[in-house]
Amino acid sequence: MESSKITVWQFFVLTLSFLAGTSFFFIPGGLIAVAKQDAWIIPFWAGAAGIAAALIWIRLARQYPGMSIIHICMKVAGKPIGGLLAFLYITYFIQLSVFITRNVGDFMKQTMMPITPLTVFHSMFLVITAYAVIKGIETIARSSELLFIIMALTFVLIFCMALAQWDWNHFQGSFRMNVWESLVETRNIFGFPFLESLVFLMLFPFVQAKVKRSFIWAIIMATALLSLTTFFTIGVLGVTRASHDTYPLFVIAQEVHVGTFFEHLESTIALILLAAIFIKLSIAYYCSVLGLCQLFRISSRFWVTIALILLISGLALGYDNVVENIEFSQRYDFEYTLLYSIFIPCLLLLVSWIRKGWGKRREEPAS
Protein backbone atom coordinates (compact mmCIF):
# COMPACT_ATOMS: atom_id res chain seq x y z
CA MET A 1 0.00 0.00 0.00
CA GLU A 2 0.99 3.58 -0.60
CA SER A 3 2.95 5.11 2.29
CA SER A 4 1.68 8.69 1.79
CA LYS A 5 0.40 10.73 4.70
CA ILE A 6 -1.97 13.69 4.81
CA THR A 7 -2.25 16.24 7.57
CA VAL A 8 -5.37 16.87 9.66
CA TRP A 9 -6.00 20.20 7.89
CA GLN A 10 -5.64 18.57 4.45
CA PHE A 11 -8.08 15.85 5.48
CA PHE A 12 -10.53 18.47 6.76
CA VAL A 13 -10.31 20.41 3.49
CA LEU A 14 -10.73 17.24 1.43
CA THR A 15 -13.81 16.21 3.40
CA LEU A 16 -15.37 19.68 3.35
CA SER A 17 -14.74 20.10 -0.39
CA PHE A 18 -16.15 16.65 -1.05
CA LEU A 19 -19.29 17.32 0.98
CA ALA A 20 -20.03 20.95 0.23
CA GLY A 21 -18.22 21.43 -3.08
CA THR A 22 -20.86 20.22 -5.50
CA SER A 23 -23.89 19.95 -3.26
CA PHE A 24 -24.30 23.70 -2.77
CA PHE A 25 -24.81 23.83 -6.53
CA PHE A 26 -27.09 20.86 -7.10
CA ILE A 27 -29.05 20.51 -3.85
CA PRO A 28 -30.80 23.88 -3.06
CA GLY A 29 -33.17 23.83 -6.08
CA GLY A 30 -34.61 20.41 -5.20
CA LEU A 31 -34.92 21.25 -1.50
CA ILE A 32 -36.72 24.53 -2.17
CA ALA A 33 -39.12 22.81 -4.58
CA VAL A 34 -40.25 20.47 -1.78
CA ALA A 35 -39.95 22.46 1.46
CA LYS A 36 -40.44 25.99 0.05
CA GLN A 37 -39.33 28.71 2.51
CA ASP A 38 -38.27 26.14 5.12
CA ALA A 39 -35.83 24.32 2.85
CA TRP A 40 -32.83 25.67 4.80
CA ILE A 41 -33.84 23.53 7.80
CA ILE A 42 -33.52 20.21 5.93
CA PRO A 43 -29.66 20.11 5.78
CA PHE A 44 -29.61 20.14 9.61
CA TRP A 45 -31.31 16.78 10.08
CA ALA A 46 -29.46 15.32 7.09
CA GLY A 47 -26.19 16.52 8.66
CA ALA A 48 -27.15 14.95 12.00
CA ALA A 49 -27.74 11.63 10.22
CA GLY A 50 -24.39 12.11 8.46
CA ILE A 51 -22.63 12.55 11.82
CA ALA A 52 -24.31 9.41 13.20
CA ALA A 53 -23.15 7.44 10.15
CA ALA A 54 -19.65 8.92 10.46
CA LEU A 55 -19.45 7.69 14.07
CA ILE A 56 -20.21 4.15 12.86
CA TRP A 57 -17.45 4.37 10.20
CA ILE A 58 -14.94 5.78 12.68
CA ARG A 59 -15.80 3.01 15.15
CA LEU A 60 -15.22 0.43 12.42
CA ALA A 61 -11.95 2.06 11.34
CA ARG A 62 -10.70 2.18 14.95
CA GLN A 63 -11.30 -1.56 15.33
CA TYR A 64 -8.87 -2.10 12.44
CA PRO A 65 -6.29 0.71 12.54
CA GLY A 66 -4.35 1.36 9.34
CA MET A 67 -6.83 -0.57 7.22
CA SER A 68 -9.12 0.68 4.46
CA ILE A 69 -12.67 -0.61 4.00
CA ILE A 70 -11.40 -3.09 1.38
CA HIS A 71 -8.93 -4.61 3.86
CA ILE A 72 -11.53 -4.54 6.65
CA CYS A 73 -14.05 -6.47 4.49
CA MET A 74 -11.42 -9.13 3.70
CA LYS A 75 -10.28 -9.34 7.33
CA VAL A 76 -13.76 -9.56 8.87
CA ALA A 77 -15.67 -11.65 6.34
CA GLY A 78 -12.85 -13.79 4.98
CA LYS A 79 -11.60 -14.02 1.41
CA PRO A 80 -14.67 -15.16 -0.57
CA ILE A 81 -17.43 -13.09 1.11
CA GLY A 82 -15.09 -10.25 2.11
CA GLY A 83 -13.77 -10.14 -1.44
CA LEU A 84 -17.32 -9.87 -2.76
CA LEU A 85 -18.14 -7.05 -0.32
CA ALA A 86 -14.90 -5.27 -1.26
CA PHE A 87 -15.79 -5.65 -4.94
CA LEU A 88 -19.24 -4.16 -4.23
CA TYR A 89 -17.54 -1.15 -2.61
CA ILE A 90 -15.33 -0.73 -5.66
CA THR A 91 -18.37 -0.76 -7.96
CA TYR A 92 -19.92 1.88 -5.70
CA PHE A 93 -16.82 4.10 -6.01
CA ILE A 94 -16.82 3.66 -9.79
CA GLN A 95 -20.55 4.46 -10.00
CA LEU A 96 -19.94 7.56 -7.88
CA SER A 97 -17.18 8.65 -10.26
CA VAL A 98 -19.57 8.09 -13.18
CA PHE A 99 -22.24 10.20 -11.49
CA ILE A 100 -19.82 13.05 -10.78
CA THR A 101 -18.42 12.94 -14.32
CA ARG A 102 -21.92 13.15 -15.73
CA ASN A 103 -22.63 16.15 -13.49
CA VAL A 104 -19.72 18.04 -15.10
CA GLY A 105 -21.00 17.25 -18.57
CA ASP A 106 -24.60 18.23 -17.82
CA PHE A 107 -23.59 21.46 -16.13
CA MET A 108 -21.20 22.58 -18.87
CA LYS A 109 -23.58 21.65 -21.68
CA GLN A 110 -26.58 23.35 -20.11
CA THR A 111 -24.96 26.55 -19.00
CA MET A 112 -21.77 27.35 -20.88
CA MET A 113 -21.19 25.30 -24.05
CA PRO A 114 -24.44 23.84 -25.43
CA ILE A 115 -23.00 22.72 -28.79
CA THR A 116 -19.97 20.80 -27.49
CA PRO A 117 -20.57 17.02 -27.15
CA LEU A 118 -20.77 15.65 -23.62
CA THR A 119 -17.92 13.21 -24.25
CA VAL A 120 -15.48 16.10 -24.71
CA PHE A 121 -16.14 17.39 -21.17
CA HIS A 122 -16.06 13.89 -19.72
CA SER A 123 -12.80 12.79 -21.34
CA MET A 124 -10.97 16.08 -20.71
CA PHE A 125 -11.96 16.10 -17.06
CA LEU A 126 -11.18 12.43 -16.59
CA VAL A 127 -7.70 12.79 -18.11
CA ILE A 128 -6.83 15.61 -15.69
CA THR A 129 -8.27 13.69 -12.75
CA ALA A 130 -6.45 10.51 -13.79
CA TYR A 131 -3.18 12.46 -13.72
CA ALA A 132 -3.95 13.58 -10.15
CA VAL A 133 -4.85 10.00 -9.18
CA ILE A 134 -1.60 8.63 -10.61
CA LYS A 135 0.33 11.25 -8.61
CA GLY A 136 -1.34 10.09 -5.39
CA ILE A 137 -3.36 11.27 -2.43
CA GLU A 138 -0.74 13.81 -1.28
CA THR A 139 -1.01 15.65 -4.60
CA ILE A 140 -4.80 15.61 -4.46
CA ALA A 141 -4.71 16.89 -0.87
CA ARG A 142 -2.27 19.70 -1.69
CA SER A 143 -4.18 20.82 -4.78
CA SER A 144 -7.43 20.80 -2.83
CA GLU A 145 -5.77 22.91 -0.13
CA LEU A 146 -4.93 25.52 -2.75
CA LEU A 147 -8.24 25.33 -4.62
CA PHE A 148 -10.25 25.48 -1.39
CA ILE A 149 -8.98 28.97 -0.56
CA ILE A 150 -9.75 30.24 -4.07
CA MET A 151 -13.19 28.62 -3.99
CA ALA A 152 -14.04 30.04 -0.57
CA LEU A 153 -12.92 33.59 -1.42
CA THR A 154 -14.79 33.66 -4.75
CA PHE A 155 -17.90 32.25 -3.14
CA VAL A 156 -17.84 34.88 -0.38
CA LEU A 157 -17.30 37.64 -2.98
CA ILE A 158 -20.29 36.56 -5.07
CA PHE A 159 -22.35 36.05 -1.91
CA CYS A 160 -21.66 39.64 -0.81
CA MET A 161 -22.42 41.08 -4.26
CA ALA A 162 -25.70 39.19 -4.59
CA LEU A 163 -26.89 40.44 -1.19
CA ALA A 164 -27.98 43.64 -2.97
CA GLN A 165 -30.95 41.67 -4.35
CA TRP A 166 -31.92 40.24 -0.97
CA ASP A 167 -35.62 40.45 -0.11
CA TRP A 168 -37.02 39.35 3.27
CA ASN A 169 -40.50 39.09 1.72
CA HIS A 170 -39.33 35.89 0.03
CA PHE A 171 -39.54 34.22 3.45
CA GLN A 172 -43.20 35.01 4.02
CA GLY A 173 -45.12 31.85 4.86
CA SER A 174 -42.23 30.20 6.73
CA PHE A 175 -42.51 27.35 9.25
CA ARG A 176 -45.47 25.62 7.63
CA MET A 177 -43.52 22.60 6.47
CA ASN A 178 -44.95 19.09 6.84
CA VAL A 179 -41.89 17.53 8.49
CA TRP A 180 -42.53 13.86 7.65
CA GLU A 181 -43.49 14.56 4.04
CA SER A 182 -40.42 16.77 3.51
CA LEU A 183 -38.21 14.16 5.17
CA VAL A 184 -39.40 11.45 2.78
CA GLU A 185 -39.37 13.59 -0.35
CA THR A 186 -35.92 15.05 0.28
CA ARG A 187 -34.34 11.79 1.47
CA ASN A 188 -31.83 11.96 -1.37
CA ILE A 189 -29.94 14.64 0.61
CA PHE A 190 -28.97 11.91 3.13
CA GLY A 191 -27.30 10.01 0.29
CA PHE A 192 -25.89 12.98 -1.61
CA PRO A 193 -23.73 14.44 -0.08
CA PHE A 194 -23.65 13.07 3.50
CA LEU A 195 -23.70 9.28 3.29
CA GLU A 196 -21.54 9.12 0.18
CA SER A 197 -18.66 10.47 2.28
CA LEU A 198 -18.15 6.81 3.20
CA VAL A 199 -15.43 6.96 0.52
CA PHE A 200 -13.26 8.41 3.29
CA LEU A 201 -13.13 4.94 4.83
CA MET A 202 -10.50 4.41 2.13
CA LEU A 203 -8.55 7.49 3.20
CA PHE A 204 -8.59 7.14 7.02
CA PRO A 205 -5.31 5.14 7.02
CA PHE A 206 -3.50 8.08 5.37
CA VAL A 207 -4.43 10.64 8.03
CA GLN A 208 -1.73 11.31 10.60
CA ALA A 209 -3.97 12.01 13.63
CA LYS A 210 -7.31 13.33 14.89
CA VAL A 211 -9.41 11.68 12.18
CA LYS A 212 -12.61 11.77 14.20
CA ARG A 213 -12.45 15.43 15.12
CA SER A 214 -11.61 16.72 11.63
CA PHE A 215 -14.14 14.43 9.92
CA ILE A 216 -17.01 15.41 12.23
CA TRP A 217 -16.11 19.12 12.03
CA ALA A 218 -16.07 18.94 8.24
CA ILE A 219 -19.57 17.43 8.25
CA ILE A 220 -20.81 20.14 10.63
CA MET A 221 -19.27 22.86 8.45
CA ALA A 222 -20.73 21.34 5.28
CA THR A 223 -24.18 21.18 6.90
CA ALA A 224 -23.97 24.84 7.93
CA LEU A 225 -22.74 25.89 4.47
CA LEU A 226 -25.47 23.95 2.69
CA SER A 227 -28.15 25.44 4.92
CA LEU A 228 -26.69 28.93 4.45
CA THR A 229 -26.60 28.52 0.66
CA THR A 230 -30.22 27.37 0.59
CA PHE A 231 -31.24 30.29 2.84
CA PHE A 232 -29.32 32.68 0.59
CA THR A 233 -30.92 31.25 -2.56
CA ILE A 234 -34.43 31.70 -1.11
CA GLY A 235 -33.62 35.24 -0.01
CA VAL A 236 -32.23 36.33 -3.36
CA LEU A 237 -34.27 34.39 -5.92
CA GLY A 238 -37.45 33.56 -4.02
CA VAL A 239 -39.15 30.17 -3.86
CA THR A 240 -40.75 30.12 -7.31
CA ARG A 241 -37.65 30.98 -9.30
CA ALA A 242 -35.26 28.90 -7.20
CA SER A 243 -37.37 25.76 -7.46
CA HIS A 244 -37.65 26.03 -11.26
CA ASP A 245 -33.93 26.36 -11.94
CA THR A 246 -31.58 23.38 -12.10
CA TYR A 247 -28.64 25.48 -10.90
CA PRO A 248 -30.07 28.40 -8.87
CA LEU A 249 -26.65 29.59 -7.67
CA PHE A 250 -25.58 29.98 -11.29
CA VAL A 251 -28.65 32.16 -11.97
CA ILE A 252 -27.77 34.31 -8.94
CA ALA A 253 -24.25 34.84 -10.32
CA GLN A 254 -25.69 35.67 -13.75
CA GLU A 255 -27.76 38.48 -12.29
CA VAL A 256 -25.09 40.13 -10.18
CA HIS A 257 -24.59 43.77 -11.18
CA VAL A 258 -22.28 46.12 -9.34
CA GLY A 259 -22.30 49.24 -11.51
CA THR A 260 -21.23 48.34 -15.03
CA PHE A 261 -17.91 46.89 -13.89
CA PHE A 262 -18.95 43.63 -12.19
CA GLU A 263 -21.44 41.86 -14.43
CA HIS A 264 -22.09 38.29 -15.55
CA LEU A 265 -20.02 36.49 -12.96
CA GLU A 266 -21.40 33.11 -14.07
CA SER A 267 -18.08 32.02 -15.58
CA THR A 268 -16.44 32.66 -12.23
CA ILE A 269 -18.96 30.52 -10.40
CA ALA A 270 -18.62 27.85 -13.11
CA LEU A 271 -14.89 27.81 -12.38
CA ILE A 272 -15.57 27.26 -8.66
CA LEU A 273 -17.86 24.38 -9.49
CA LEU A 274 -15.28 22.83 -11.82
CA ALA A 275 -12.65 23.06 -9.07
CA ALA A 276 -15.07 21.48 -6.58
CA ILE A 277 -15.95 18.71 -9.01
CA PHE A 278 -12.25 18.10 -9.67
CA ILE A 279 -11.63 17.51 -5.96
CA LYS A 280 -14.68 15.29 -5.57
CA LEU A 281 -13.97 13.27 -8.70
CA SER A 282 -10.29 12.89 -7.75
CA ILE A 283 -11.29 11.39 -4.39
CA ALA A 284 -13.91 9.01 -5.83
CA TYR A 285 -11.62 8.00 -8.71
CA TYR A 286 -8.65 7.54 -6.39
CA CYS A 287 -10.73 5.33 -4.09
CA SER A 288 -11.85 3.18 -7.07
CA VAL A 289 -8.26 2.71 -8.24
CA LEU A 290 -6.90 2.15 -4.74
CA GLY A 291 -9.68 -0.33 -4.02
CA LEU A 292 -8.89 -2.33 -7.17
CA CYS A 293 -5.15 -2.25 -6.37
CA GLN A 294 -5.76 -3.43 -2.79
CA LEU A 295 -8.21 -6.16 -3.77
CA PHE A 296 -5.97 -7.60 -6.47
CA ARG A 297 -2.73 -6.79 -4.62
CA ILE A 298 -1.30 -4.58 -7.36
CA SER A 299 1.56 -2.24 -6.49
CA SER A 300 1.31 0.31 -9.33
CA ARG A 301 -1.74 2.49 -9.97
CA PHE A 302 -0.79 3.73 -13.44
CA TRP A 303 -2.36 1.16 -15.79
CA VAL A 304 -5.50 0.66 -13.71
CA THR A 305 -6.09 4.43 -13.67
CA ILE A 306 -5.68 4.69 -17.44
CA ALA A 307 -7.97 1.73 -18.09
CA LEU A 308 -10.72 3.17 -15.88
CA ILE A 309 -10.94 6.36 -18.00
CA LEU A 310 -12.54 4.37 -20.83
CA LEU A 311 -15.02 2.62 -18.54
CA ILE A 312 -16.08 5.73 -16.59
CA SER A 313 -16.42 7.94 -19.68
CA GLY A 314 -18.56 5.25 -21.35
CA LEU A 315 -20.78 4.68 -18.32
CA ALA A 316 -21.23 8.46 -17.89
CA LEU A 317 -23.12 8.47 -21.21
CA GLY A 318 -25.66 6.04 -19.74
CA TYR A 319 -28.09 8.82 -18.81
CA ASP A 320 -30.27 10.24 -21.57
CA ASN A 321 -30.57 13.71 -20.07
CA VAL A 322 -30.25 15.72 -16.87
CA VAL A 323 -33.86 14.92 -15.89
CA GLU A 324 -33.09 11.18 -15.81
CA ASN A 325 -30.06 11.95 -13.69
CA ILE A 326 -32.11 14.01 -11.19
CA GLU A 327 -34.90 11.42 -11.14
CA PHE A 328 -32.47 8.63 -10.29
CA SER A 329 -30.94 10.75 -7.57
CA GLN A 330 -34.32 11.59 -6.02
CA ARG A 331 -35.82 8.11 -6.21
CA TYR A 332 -32.92 5.71 -5.66
CA ASP A 333 -29.82 7.50 -4.38
CA PHE A 334 -30.71 7.23 -0.69
CA GLU A 335 -31.60 3.52 -0.84
CA TYR A 336 -28.51 2.75 -2.92
CA THR A 337 -26.12 4.60 -0.61
CA LEU A 338 -27.77 3.22 2.52
CA LEU A 339 -26.60 -0.30 1.67
CA TYR A 340 -22.93 0.74 1.55
CA SER A 341 -22.91 3.41 4.22
CA ILE A 342 -25.00 1.85 6.98
CA PHE A 343 -25.97 -1.74 6.28
CA ILE A 344 -22.57 -3.26 5.36
CA PRO A 345 -20.50 -1.27 7.96
CA CYS A 346 -22.98 -2.27 10.72
CA LEU A 347 -22.81 -5.88 9.57
CA LEU A 348 -18.99 -5.75 9.63
CA LEU A 349 -19.01 -4.20 13.12
CA LEU A 350 -21.41 -6.87 14.39
CA VAL A 351 -19.34 -9.71 12.95
CA SER A 352 -16.12 -8.31 14.40
CA TRP A 353 -17.75 -7.94 17.87
CA ILE A 354 -19.08 -11.52 17.73
CA ARG A 355 -15.65 -12.76 16.68
CA LYS A 356 -13.95 -10.87 19.51
CA GLY A 357 -16.50 -12.23 21.99
CA TRP A 358 -15.82 -15.80 20.82
CA GLY A 359 -12.09 -15.21 20.97
CA LYS A 360 -12.33 -14.08 24.62
CA ARG A 361 -14.48 -17.10 25.57
CA ARG A 362 -11.93 -19.46 24.04
CA GLU A 363 -9.08 -17.77 25.87
CA GLU A 364 -10.82 -17.92 29.28
CA PRO A 365 -11.05 -21.73 29.67
CA ALA A 366 -7.49 -22.11 28.37
CA SER A 367 -6.12 -19.73 31.02
Binding site: S300, L308, L310, G314, G318, N325, Y332
Partner: protein
Protein backbone atom coordinates in the same frame (compact mmCIF):
# COMPACT_ATOMS: atom_id res chain seq x y z
CA UNK B 1 -17.42 3.91 -34.83
CA UNK B 2 -14.76 2.42 -37.07
CA UNK B 3 -12.28 5.07 -35.91
CA UNK B 4 -13.04 4.27 -32.30
CA UNK B 5 -12.45 0.54 -32.89
CA UNK B 6 -9.16 1.25 -34.69
CA UNK B 7 -8.01 3.62 -31.96
CA UNK B 8 -8.96 1.11 -29.29
CA UNK B 9 -7.02 -1.68 -31.02
CA UNK B 10 -3.94 0.55 -31.28
CA UNK B 11 -4.15 1.69 -27.62
CA UNK B 12 -4.95 -1.80 -26.36
CA UNK B 13 -2.10 -3.40 -28.33
CA UNK B 14 0.31 -0.63 -27.35
CA UNK B 15 -0.49 -0.83 -23.65
CA UNK B 16 -0.28 -4.63 -23.65
CA UNK B 17 3.12 -4.52 -25.36
CA UNK B 18 4.36 -1.90 -22.90
CA UNK B 19 3.12 -3.84 -19.89
CA UNK B 20 4.74 -7.06 -21.09
CA UNK B 21 8.02 -5.23 -21.80
CA UNK B 22 7.98 -3.65 -18.34
CA UNK B 23 7.45 -7.13 -16.87
CA UNK B 24 4.28 -6.09 -15.17
CA UNK B 25 2.64 -8.62 -12.85
CA UNK B 26 0.31 -11.11 -14.51
CA UNK B 27 -2.73 -10.20 -12.44
CA UNK B 28 -2.24 -6.51 -13.25
CA UNK B 29 -2.27 -7.31 -16.97
CA UNK B 30 -5.42 -9.41 -16.55
CA UNK B 31 -7.16 -6.67 -14.53
CA UNK B 32 -6.23 -3.89 -16.97
CA UNK B 33 -7.31 -6.03 -19.94
CA UNK B 34 -10.66 -6.77 -18.27
CA UNK B 35 -11.25 -3.10 -17.50
CA UNK B 36 -10.33 -2.05 -21.04
CA UNK B 37 -12.60 -4.69 -22.58
CA UNK B 38 -15.47 -3.69 -20.27
CA UNK B 39 -14.95 -0.06 -21.30
CA UNK B 40 -14.84 -1.07 -24.95
CA UNK B 41 -18.08 -3.09 -24.63
CA UNK B 42 -19.75 -0.13 -22.93
CA UNK B 43 -18.66 2.28 -25.66
CA UNK B 44 -19.85 -0.15 -28.34
CA UNK B 45 -23.25 -0.25 -26.64
CA UNK B 46 -23.33 3.56 -26.90
CA UNK B 47 -22.40 3.48 -30.59
CA UNK B 48 -25.00 0.80 -31.36
CA UNK B 49 -27.76 2.83 -29.63
CA UNK B 50 -28.28 0.23 -26.92
CA UNK B 51 -26.71 2.17 -24.07
CA UNK B 52 -25.79 0.21 -20.99
CA UNK B 53 -27.38 2.16 -18.14
CA UNK B 54 -25.76 1.36 -14.82
CA UNK B 55 -28.35 3.51 -13.04
CA UNK B 56 -31.16 1.44 -14.56
CA UNK B 57 -29.56 -1.77 -13.27
CA UNK B 58 -29.29 -0.27 -9.77
CA UNK B 59 -32.90 0.95 -9.93
CA UNK B 60 -34.10 -2.49 -11.06
CA UNK B 61 -32.21 -4.20 -8.23
CA UNK B 62 -33.59 -1.80 -5.61
CA UNK B 63 -37.13 -2.29 -6.95
CA UNK B 64 -36.59 -6.05 -6.92
CA UNK B 65 -35.48 -5.99 -3.29
CA UNK B 66 -38.50 -3.78 -2.56
CA UNK B 67 -36.82 -0.84 -0.90
Amino acid sequence: MIWFILLFIVIFGGSLTLMIRQRTEKREIVLVTTLLLLGFADWMSVFLNHKFKSSKVIALLIDLVGL
